[in-house]
Amino acid sequence: MEHAHDPNRPAWVKHYFHSKEQQLSAAKFGMWLFLAQEVLFFSGLFCAYIAFRWLYPETWLSGADQLNKWMGGLNTLVLIASSFTMALAVRGAQTKSPVALKVNLLLTILFACMFMVVKYFEYSHKMHLGIFPAQHYAYEGSTGLMPIFFAIYYCLTGLHGIHVVIGIGFLSWLLFAAQKGRYMDGNYAYVENVGLYWHLVDLVWIFLFPLLYLVK
């Protein structure tokens, strides 16, 4: 548009916004609303968790025994570390430091991939034993209504895993754009918003870990 020379109105401000402040605050507010929507999306499964744990408390105790606390713990540390590097990446965009932005984005992606690798080992070990969700459950060495516990387990961690994979996609896109020199002109709403999303994904796991692994 014709505002390119106005210092208060950089070229990246969309024509339908009065000012860059309006655009940035709209972007961030939109992301918070999206996160509210995400929380409610997960809440259905958390309610199912509450209902079944209340119905079958014994099952939940023996179910937690089947999960590997060390792997879950490791993944918790990995995700917390990734949230830290994500925060540093946002800081890098704010301080207009391209190196800090790119290095921290890359670290976040690596941590996220590490999370998925650990998850892969957990899943494949269980499936090897015959621990499948509900109907296809074939593991003999457990008591209680294990199929329903693992239905909840697979749904919650699976949905969370999908969110991690989507997060990796967003982070890679940011890294790709940062490589081309973007986000250094004050227009780092994308970085901030992906950061918010990533923290939510992290936060969901912070709830999942004790609820599933540390019940006992």
């Binding site: 916004f17 609303l33 509900a134």
Partner: protein, 581 residues
Amino acid sequence: MTVETPENPEMPETSDDSVDTAAETGTTPTADHSHDDHGHGDEPSYLTYGMEKGLLSFIKSWLITVDHKRIGIMYLISVLFFFAVAGFTAIAFRIELLTAAPDFMSADTYNKAFTLHGGIMVFLVIIPLTPAALGNFLLPLMLGAKDVAFPKLNLASLYVYWLGAALLVYAVLGGGFDTGWTFYTPYSTTAQGPITWALLGAFTLGFSSIFTGLNFIVTIHKMRAPGMGFFRMPLMLWALYATALTQLLATPVLAITLLLVAMERIMGIGIFNPDLGGDPVLMQHFFWFYSHPAVYIMILPAFGIISELVSVHSRKRIFGYGAIALSSVSIALVGFLVWGHHMFVSGQSELSGVVFSFLTFFVAIPTAIKIFSWVGTMWGGSIRFNTPMLYTLSFLFLFLIGGLTGLFLATMSTDVHLHDTYFVVSHFHYVMASGAVISFLGGLHHWWPKMFGTMYNETAGRVGAVIIFLGFNLTFFPQFVAGSRGMPRRYHEYVKEFEGLQAMSSYGSFILAAGLVWVLCYLLYALFKGPKATDNPWGAVTLEWETATPPIEHNFHHTPVCVRGPYDFPEIDESLSDGKH
């Protein structure tokens, strides 16, 4: 609302967006074409820009547009298309129900037909009808903004809608599904047919609704014109705001529910399967946690339309502005706490039945406040009995019946008798069909000149409104009687004694359909041959009437400034009023 002296509204910092001083004069506002100091005097309207480059690129300019007005129009066309499909289906099974014996279609086809009608009407028509079609067009204009906050997300929501619709259509063509629109387990997880595709279709449509809701909330919070506080917004915007809150917060719960039912079908996860320790009633809880608020997604925008229409066409300030505005939000909030009243006979505990029944009565309070305020607005006004006003009166009458019969159903003792009868069918048609469709028709006539720049024939419009009102009552009123006498819903053949009532209902539906076809015909005629509309044919004072008719691509030449309340009509004599309406 009082007329306030313009308090130096915050001036936009850019040189281009100079304030349109025409708004401050208090005269009937018009888009001021003389202000063409930036050379946009002869801008084409939003409907036609891009036309000069040939037909193909014109169509492309529509399909990749991020203009909220064009997206609204495309939503309008898509939604009306599916409305016609659902209407034909309804006519088909009303023909079957003319007689007690099964003669026109098989039981299986009948089940698929009413499922199709319900599924399409809920997910593809009524939910997007007013928010996505009219709302998309109006919301930025009413706010005095140039677009919604996220125009690309807005276009994405339309494409997601088309994708979801395609999945549903695929499920229908692949043999149809007969679960009812509610997808109750265990039937939906065990029945044969392309139910998984239908589930994924409804799941996808949910995201279209979420995107629209998210966009609207951010736009209302961040992009109001200078001078427009929350309590200077037209009530349509309050209603769309409350709707958007519900869309954003309820729909994800439906999404996860449908996803779990689909997963149950695909890989047997068992969460809703009692054989594996799952719980089918849990599915009903999840489903109604969304689907009851969804009822308010359907009805709240209607409240917004009626608030605008009743005030503009009574030439009077709305009575109880703040009460109507806040009652929309409180309906949205209370709506989250009443889902259990759909499940009085599902085996939930008596205590939760009592609590849900009690909470449901609460919804009647904000709703009654609205009805009272609308009637109060008309009292002493100079009412114009034109087409939009006839739809408004029709809405008030029908919605009152729908609302009061809702109380019968909220009462546990009567609900046990009326549950799953035609009484329920009639109740929700009086609320949803009258609420959403009649108010939408009123709104469409009211904003038609602004949307398309032409006028429809007023006499034809009035005739249509009356036919629809009569047809509607003849269709659904006998169903109250049949239901209270024990006629169950979703029955393909029925006992002989209901034949009279059922036949009345069927003939009513034919009249209703004829009325709707009549409306379609004269509106299409108006679209192509109608006389040109002026910028503000109703003398309304909300901002959407300040721009050109039809609006230009970027809505306003200059950022409008809101200097008065949305219902401060110029002819209201301030000297006679204490200003405290």
